[in-house]
Amino acid sequence: MSMTQQARGRRSGLARAFSSVGEFFAGTAEAFRKGDAFTRLSALISGAGFIARGQIVKGVLKTLLEALIIYLIPGFILPNLSKFGTLGTVVAQKTFDPVTRKNVWNNYDNSFLILLFSVMSMAVILVAVVLWMKNMRAAYELQQTQERGKHVNSFRDDVEALLNKRFHVTLLSLPTLGVVLFIIIPLVVMILIAFTNYDHDHLPPNALFTWVGFNNFKSLFSMTAESSFGYSFGHVLAWTLVWSVLATFTCFIGGILMAMFINNRNTMGKRFWRTCFMVTMAVPQFVSLLLVRNFFANQGIVNTICKNIGLTDWLFGIGAIPTANYIPFLTNPAWARPMIILINIWVGVPYQMLIATGILMNIPADLTEAARIDGANAWQSFWHITMPYILFVMGPSLVNQVVANINNFTVIYLLSHDVYVTQNQYMANANASEVDLLITWLFGLTQDRQNYKMASVIGILVFVVCAIITLLAFNKMIKGDKEESFQ
């Protein structure tokens, strides 16, 4: 590797991206400057350069695509983009026509559709500009090819290339289109909603919403008597982080311990035990969760048993519970939080156990044997061989699980929805509760209150939290040549 190549390799990704964009622009300008008449004509009629040099089909296709985009401008792009600044001004109005017995609506604006279509228009424009510049360069390259007297590809050659040399382009174009249409555009729309007043009072199509700048972010970080979003955000975020770390590591450690017990030479009926845990996984998680929620309800079976054996009265006697009627397993913050983590262990351990079993079976026997010969006891061999090996293999998936648990909607929602009523008045005023994760809070805001703007703000912040954790953890764990460090 030469020095210059190494230097280039060290340049940051951002710098590289900028310089390649720069090259792209320069190339287009050069094509325009040095191109002949047909190449320059391609700037107006995109197929001109190609048709002139015998690539008829390609030229016609390119011109048709250009025509389609130009056709979209007055019908789709302009009407939507022109309203993008206000997100619409015409409020829906209707009159009932007694003759036709139908409602006659005015030509009203739908803020949401304007937002959505504007983003799509911008995507179309961006793609069109890039395609136009690419087209200029391609026309110029074709001109050069012809000037040098080299072979000019026929349409058949191009199609063959797409199936052979440039097969990756054929394969990836459809998924790329799908990603843009169904992931990137909706994502951009959702992010933009955080900067609007799209909520219960501004629901399209019967009302309009509009831009409000950073107001929603301000109310998330401020605490007034009227709005306790700031207070609630801090508390919900803290519990979300505590939950995700505890939920991940309790399941992880529980799974490893379980797998080791089952894999132990002295354990009888390994297959039987393993099957037992497999069966618990066969029951859909939400079914088990709802059942457990009912078991631990204030009037549930566990409470009946506790009451009958006198545990409830004893707990009330020592002041651990506020009423002698039941133990508030899932209705009091001090009880509900640990209970939810415990129940999550119960639901999550079998899965972790299976993964850990696979890894334990893969640990090279010579390692443990060598350790035994060297006089290591079981604990030392676990601590210095088994554990590092498992951590090495499972590290990335652990990070993944922490992030997944930040968004662990199912467990929290199913265990607390309709059951848990917060006693914290500030949280109540922001529609949050002590056991809410950011994601369930967000869900409640959209589902119960149609407060899409705040939900979008919280969504963005969830993303930021997850991104920070992932970046930090993966940088620590995977960066460098860790593959060789374990040996």
Binding site: F76, P205, A207, E226, A297, N325, Q423, A428
Partner: protein, 402 residues
């Protein structure tokens, strides 16, 4: 241009059903699987009454309690006719998701009970929905095995009887819909403002005859009574079944459960009085109605109104009572002997004198539920009661969530 717009729409959003000119397709949402037999009968009758038109009426199930969420998620794609509990009237009305009744509203107003019509009337004074049932409020269930008719007049007496028997009287204290009955009974108010999205509330008043703090103190005493249990619908059902709950406040939806568990001892009555600031005060309540709304975006809004009117006429309300046990809002149907003989419906009718039509903006619910939860837990943090009420009122009266 239209074509492209349509194409894009198809790509990006699930398109709703396409209707043809001659055939009239209506989609109707009813609340429960068990309503299907009833609504199918209504549809047959409707078709028979309109032989000239070719109707296709599709039935969908959307819980009456969640209807507004489903309608507001995409008003243009919602059903043409939908059934909802009257607590959602306001959010639907404000979002413009209800068609004003412009075909013969006079009949609807004349035929149905006054409260039911009030619940279906918008703040502009026009009728925006069709009353379907008048049974969606709450009242007191009790078992005659333990209580005399005199006992159930006073909550204090009921709690005393229950405590002596080692049993419980259930009340959903951690639920804004129910806790209202104590405050309103004591003369404190909570009403929606004209803007339709905020509330006015004086539960923290100190200058009224009965102060807000008095009510909280009364509730704390009730909640700590050994004969009391804080029980929402599920625990109420569980308690009635296992015999631990011998009386409780709930609605007609639990009438069958109570009837099965208590047999001949099953009885229902208006809400009792309770003691606050040394006086006996009658508990108030939210009157509850189920309403039928028409989607203004409906392709056949006129026919949708015809169907909604038909679905809530005397005959349909009576068959609804017969098949589903739901009390009619229609005056003639309510006067029928069969309806009069149902204890739960009779109890509701008696409670009606003390009930108010529910006009509540969204910010009410969570703070009110939290107030109840704190009281049910005997104020564990020892918060000053006035401060507690001030916080609750701040939440209830907050401008629509920031």
């Amino acid at each position: 241009m239209k074509k492209i717009l349509a194409l894009v729409l198809v790509l990006m959003m699930a398109m709703t059903s396409v209707a043809f000119a001659e055939d009239i397709t209506l989609r109707v949402w009813v609340g429960d699987n068990n309503d299907e037999a009833w609504i199918n009968g209504v549809i047959e009758n409707f078709k028979a009454a309109h032989p000239d038109n070719n109707y296709t009426i599709e039935v969908g199930i959307v819980s009456e309690g969640d209807c507004s969420k489903n309608v507001l998620a995409d008003p243009e794609a919602a059903a043409d006719v939908f059934t909802f509990a009257d607590d959602q009237f306001n959010s639907l009305y404000n979002a413009g998701a209800l068609q004003e009744v412009v075909i013969d509203p006079e009949t609807v107003i004349a035929d149905n009970a006054e409260g039911a019509v009030a619940a279906a009337t918008g703040s502009d004074g026009a009728l925006y929905a069709y009353p379907a049932t008048a049974d969606n409020g709450y009242f007191m269930f009790y078992s005659k095995e333990y209580f005399t008719e005199e006992d159930v007049q006073s909550l204090d007496k009921m709690l005393e009887v229950a405590a002596a028997a080692g049993k419980k009287v259930g009340f959903p204290l951690s639920n804004g819909w129910y806790i209202y009955s104590f405050f309103k009974g004591a003369g404190l108010d909570m009403v929606i403002n004209e803007d339709g999205v905020t509330n006015t509330c004086n539960w923290n008043a100190t200058d009224t005859e009965i102060k807000g703090v008095d009510v909280v103190e009364a509730l704390l005493a009730i909640a700590q009574n050994p004969g009391f249990i804080n029980a929402d619908s599920d625990p109420f059902v569980a308690g009635v079944k296992d015999g631990s709950i011998i009386a409780g406040v709930s609605g007609t939806w639990n009438a069958n459960v109570a009837q099965e568990a208590w047999g001949d001892n099953y009885a229902a009555v208006k809400l009792p009085t309770f003691t606050v600031a040394g006086q006996q005060v009658q508990m108030s309540s939210f009157a509850g109605y189920k309403l039928v709304g028409v989607n203004p975006h409906s392709e056949f809004v006129g026919d949708a109104m015809d169907f909604a009117a038909f679905m809530t006429n005397e005959e349909s309300q009576l068959s609804r009572f017969e098949l589903r046990g739901q009390g009619p809002a229609n005056k003639a149907a309510a006067a029928s002997e069969a309806v009069q003989a149902a204890p739960a419906i009779a109890a509701l009718a008696n409670q009606a004198a003390y009930a108010t039509v529910q006009r509540v903006a969204d910010p009410y619910w969570t703070p009110a539920a939290t107030l109840g939860e704190i009281i049910a837990n005997n104020n564990p943090d020892g918060t000053d009661l006035q401060t507690m009420l001030d916080n609750t009122v701040a939440g209830i009266t907050a401008s629509a969530l920031q």
